[in-house]
Amino acid sequence: MSLDTVKNAEQTPDAAQPWAELGLKQDEYARIREILGRRPTGAELAMYSVMWSEHCSYKSSKVHLKQFGDKKPETDAMLVGIGENAGVVDVGQGYAVTFKVESHNHPSYIEPYQGAATGIGGIVRDILAMGARPVAVMDPLRFGAADHPDTRRVLPGIVAGIGGYGNCLGLPNIGGEVVFDSCYQGNPLVNALCVGVMKHEDIHLAQASGAGNKVVLYGARTGGDGIGGVSVLASETFDDTKPAKRPAVQVGDPFQEKLLIECTLEIFREKLVKGIQDLGGAGLSCATSELASAGSGGMRIDLDTVHLRDHTLSPEEILMSESQERMCAIVEPDKIDRFLEICEKWDVIANVIGEVTDGERLEIFWHGELVVDVPPRTVAHEGPTYQRPFARPSWQDALQADAPTAERLARPTTGEGLKADLLKLASHPNQASKSWITDQYDRYVLGNTVLSHGEDSGMIRIDDETNLGVSVATDGNGRYTKLDPYTGAQLALAEAYRNVAAGGAKPLAVSDCLNFGSPEDPDVMWQFAEATRGLADACLTLGTPVTGGNVSLYNQTGEVAIHPTPVVAVLGVIDDVTRRTPMAFAEEGQLLYLLGDTEDELGGSAWSQAVHDHLGGLPPKVDLERERLLGEILIAGSRDGMVDAAHDLSDGGLGQALVESCLKGGRGARIVVPEGMDPFVFLFSESAGRAVVAVPRSEELRFNDMCTARGLPAVRIGVVDGDSLDVQGQFTVALAELKDAHTGVIEALLA
């Protein structure tokens, strides 16, 4: 085939083009012709197709995402907001922290190891591109039923991929979630979060300005992997009738990424770049058009200078390739030599591939011929916007009416019955120990991990001298969100916020990964609209702005969509990490207090799933002012030494929280059911805005006074004691029996 140059495109306006195969709709193709005033060349078509994909352009979601900006709370903490590679937050002492959670769902189902591995790689480069040293990762994961045969294929590969890549980069994995539900059977969710730290003056942005400045591509060579990853793979529903999509998955090389990190940080230290962008989804198409679009506009690229792994690649393929471990930097001419010298030191291949021009076009040449000549904004930022129709699903009312009342779902009425359900919950794959998974991740490397797996939040020290630290928690409950998307999204935020506060850190900002089914289904679009509205409203009330994140749609196989699953990450700051509050009951004799109000709220609960395999009713109510108050009490308790252990109450309620805190500390507890409270509701309700804390006897008066003065309900429910969990008048269960039930579950199913 001869080269499709701009000149050729002008001369052959009627040539047939594969726009549909590249994932474009007919009206989108027409719009491209309108923008260019001619048909696009093959290379231009390739660029528009990936950049206008759902994954890159947010064309279905952006009308809803706007709310995160419109309802942004007033805060001094945000240094860089939505739109850059990741948001940046001021955490004091001159430090800034950047964090973001992103999805790699579709590739991880097709090719679990590489899909999950490159998910880590991609988010780490986003953080690096902001100027920060990546310091920790986390992985919120969702799988199909734990006992389904395909889960045995998907889960071990995903876990090994996350470990294989993250461990080799030397980034501690400090938390995340693992949830099993048959709704994720054909669409597992692999979300990856990275946290990075820098000084304020080190913040870098993705923009190309200054005519004459050089465009440098550095890192791995460009190969044929991942072509169409964002368009044909991540932006369509899985369907048995289409060809296998495995070639659209990228392959990762963590050692190359490690070199890229160290090399880039050294380049930052010497202040050698004007703008920088990582190459992820949509590869070079994305990096060049975004850099140019955010800068002065003009850029000229010579594709022949791109180092290739495969010399048969066409210009279209080079532009679409999603080969991993690549970055693109804008460098002033007098700094190029030093830039290349540092790359050489780290054995990183680097090449000048073009320069910033004073024009307004992105021009790309191949063998001396012009193959791309476009206004970069039309590629990067002016993609289509859809007002997708949405409507409350016809089945929503019936689902909400099916509440788990005592009449509908049998509740235990005896001590023995309560004990049996407690054990059933503790041994359900969703509540059981995840150590088989998390022990495959390095949590120690870098030597700053203060809290990690099994704790409410992951916490790291960022300054050895001052003990300044940050913590992150991620949460999301698809069952709650299915029952009521508005409330479900708010509950995800409330839980992550509470988890950060339970560790003693002050919540500052949010990143979210919104995992939903097909936007072409009005039911799904309604879930999305409701969830974003709920989350934006809640962020405004709690004063925690959304700093960035990602939307993953088309998590659907055929007609069956996943539960709507907004995963919310909250970042918090703690002035002195030595004051952090762990969740283990470690001191005999400490008093246990239940904070917050407990009501009969079991809709979407872990109990209704583990014991009755039921989903119906309404999720727990949200009271954001109460969440804020609870947070303030937990933070004050930690700072002033009034609380030695704290655990938020969520899935499985108080019963599950007691099991976890007892087992973690290796200590039992004697618990008294408060007068007038139903023991079943006391143990298994999932009312929000609650936590259990262990208070040293010497601090009881002070702690009680604080709760009373601030108006937070706090009831003493027992004491840390012995080697069993004893709910007085109901049942006693030995720690050894709890441990047996709680551990070994995942490995028995998968190993």
């Binding site: 470990g163 963590p254 120690y444």
Partner: protein, 225 residues
């Protein structure tokens, strides 16, 4: 004069900063050494840290042994300079033939990260003299290829000469022969250890502070020398 302990950074080293922190907390001056530089900058001892030195897509440590810095480390180790190889560093020492045996894929076939109980079997080496023989300690362990193997003759020799430095207790996390977690050379100056003592030096971030003894031991060795 403060004792200078070098920590080598290979391109894929990961626990190099942690090793330098441990050296500092033990009271010595950490010196960063670069893999391409033969010069050891007058250090008194060297730590080869954990990580994936050159990506380790071949055998772990197989390429590192040929790096410029290792030329000097091997030469000086043969002359008695204390060298501690942790995890990947242990693999490099075996590949360099400073220590016998090899480290292969964990028998579970999974990477494992856990708080590991060890028994210090020998406090005669340069890196263990601050422990008592039989002392039990807990330090983090994290590896994918940590299974120590050697033939029976070598294993018997190591045992007979008291060159097993540390052994896994309660759980053998990777299938190492005879539960071996660490060994030393005949002279006692070179020690290879699969677990990570540099991650058990601060109560805030480690399960214990029982790993610090490796780093304080070498200081005493050098002061007394």
């Amino acid at each position: 004069m403060t004792t200078r302990v070098g920590v080598v950074t290979f391109p894929g080293s990961l626990d190099d900063r942690d090793a330098r922190r441990a050296v500092r907390l033990a009271g010595a001056e950490p010196v960063a050494l670069w893999h391409r530089d033969k010069d050891l900058h007058q250090v008194d001892a060297v730590v080869l840290p954990g990580g994936f030195s050159y990506g380790d897509y071949l055998r772990c440590g197989a390429i590192s042994r040929f790096s410029p810095v290792m030329e000097t480390v091997i030469e000086q180790a043969r002359q008695g300079m204390p060298v501690l190889g942790i995890c990947n560093g242990f693999q490099v020492l075996c590949e360099s033939h400073l220590l016998p045996g090899a480290l292969t894929r964990n028998d579970s076939l999974h990477f494992v990260c856990r708080d590991q109980k060890l028994r210090i079997e020998n406090n005669g080496s340069a890196w263990t003299r601050d422990y008592t023989p039989g002392q039990e300690i807990v330090v983090p362990l994290k590896n994918g290829e940590g299974r120590f193997v050697a033939d029976e003759r070598v294993l018997d020799e190591l045992e007979a000469e008291g060159r097993v430095v540390a052994r896994y207790l309660d759980v053998n996390p990777n299938g190492s022969y005879r539960d071996i977690a660490g060994i030393t050379n005949a002279a006692g100056n070179v020690v290879g250890l699969m677990p990570h003592p540099e991650h058990a030096v601060e109560p805030l971030t480690g399960p214990t502070t029982e790993g610090l003894g490796f780093f304080t031991s070498v200081l005493k060795q050098l002061v007394n020398a």
